[in-house]
Symmetry: C3
Subunit: 205 residues, 3 copies
């Protein structure tokens, strides 16, 4: 288990996590500036595309590797579930652009911070997966991700409550409600990956 | 397989199922009375929190147990998918409160009954999992859960058809439509658990 | 692996894929004609019901079979994920009927073509699964399914952008937006099955 020669998989997971952190940082910047121009959406699409490449590289590596650091299907699931997070950040960015939102709400800004923090905790989780000695540390980061996902839930609820109380234009209610839901789903998906990491640890304990 | 000494897992699944039944009963009561006060939502949150504790206890038990009654990943999936049901009942309760719905529709009341019945069938399914001799009984309850999930589908369709025919306020359409969809998702999630139970039986046959 | 005597499973997958293609063809026809009468919805329900039967036949066959062409849980997942596609095509048809849409938009028509093409690529993928020698061909169809799923994404985005720009009735926005989202989910679900096929190939390589 966790052989040094299997470092390639861990390096790919690190890269995927790093790409998520960069995308989340960039998303927060766009929300802060309210600038979802086609050019900026295209730049986010580059993160999404690079994430796809990393996922496919992981799958190809699986095809050529006889002994893997843990179950083949878990490696595949980890790569695919991280790809889900990236897809969701891109979807969110794209919807801000489609809905022509130039003044993101305070709630959208707060949720962008939570998303950024969650991807950073996730990066730690995946780095620690490399070494069984870090199991306790990994679990602590998983707890932190759970806390952040909860924070995302609370923010979304406050945002939606505020929306239905103060926004009278039904079209704007439809738009903003969806943006809040997709933002919260991003932290949900991060929690899925954290759960998967925990389950990999359980199986390889 | 299915060793007596592994009763702890079955006891935890029983407790999780019992918690779901209680939450579903409480939800039906709140819908009947139209009383989604912050205090009542908080009480539902206690069911949700207790469900989380049971899920974590199951994961910790997995960490300490060498021989499990069936595959480790299936135990984990069962605990997590039952948690999804509880999360969804809480989400539904919380949305009634956020949307300030004091007069739930007749359809919401009917769907609450279906949800309660489905969790009760699920409780039987999980109890029967304990003993391979009950395989036939387990499968019968799975069929019953499929029937109830279908009933949930039909109710949701009737409710949505009624909504788009009679409700003219778009904001209310947004709210009620979502409440119907979440209610139906609860029975969907119960069916997922039933499918998982069936798949565990298939693998251990 | 891939024993001739295990042809029964492959035959069932072929039938499920064929049923999906027929349902997708029928759906495209209904969208083209704008005719979602109760009778036509009932006919679509027959496809959905036949799909359910095939899924259950596969599960029963699993129960009676000692040696399976690949992992039992993957066979189960494949059957269930194909059933998801069928359920989604039925859901889409049913919503057109519930929402009383008699003039489907140009975007709905285009997406119906994409859905039909995706199910046809999926049929090839499953047929090729029968023989390891066809691995390269299978992977090419998986790439094609990815391309079609991307096309579905682009069409949905264009459709939603057009909707929020030109449709002023909030109730119609709610309806059309959901129809576009469900249509896109159909190609998403096809991609899930393609991913699953790829993962089965990875595991059995």
């Amino acid at each position: 288990m966790f052989l040094p020669k299997e470092d390639k998989f861990f390096n790919l997971f690190d890269k995927q996590a790093e790409n998520l952190v960069r995308a989340a940082e960039y998303y927060r910047k766009l929300v802060d500036e309210g600038n979802f121009s086609p050019e900026n959406v295209r730049k986010m699409h580059e993160f999404e595309h690079y994430g796809d490449e990393l996922t496919h590289t992981t799958i190809n590596l699986l095809n050529e590797t006889f002994i893997t650091p843990f179950d083949r299907e878990d490696i595949l699931a980890l790569a695919n579930r991280m790809d889900d997070i990236m897809d969701n950040i891109y979807l969110l960015t794209n919807r801000f652009s489609l809905y022509k939102i130039s003044k993101p709400t305070l709630y959208s800004k707060k949720m962008a911070v939570t998303i950024e923090q969650t991807t950073k905790a996730l990066r730690h989780t995946l780095a620690a997966l490399r070494n069984k000695k870090h199991m306790k540390e990994t679990q602590e980061y998983c707890v932190e991700i759970n806390r952040l996902e909860n924070e995302g839930d609370v923010l979304r609820d406050e945002a939606i409550s505020d929306l239905f109380t103060n926004e009278k234009d039904p079209i704007m209610v439809i738009k903003q409600k969806e943006l809040y839901e997709i933002a919260e789903t991003t932290t949900d998906f991060c929690e899925h990956v954290a759960n998967l990491v925990e389950s990999i640890l359980v199986k390889n304990n």
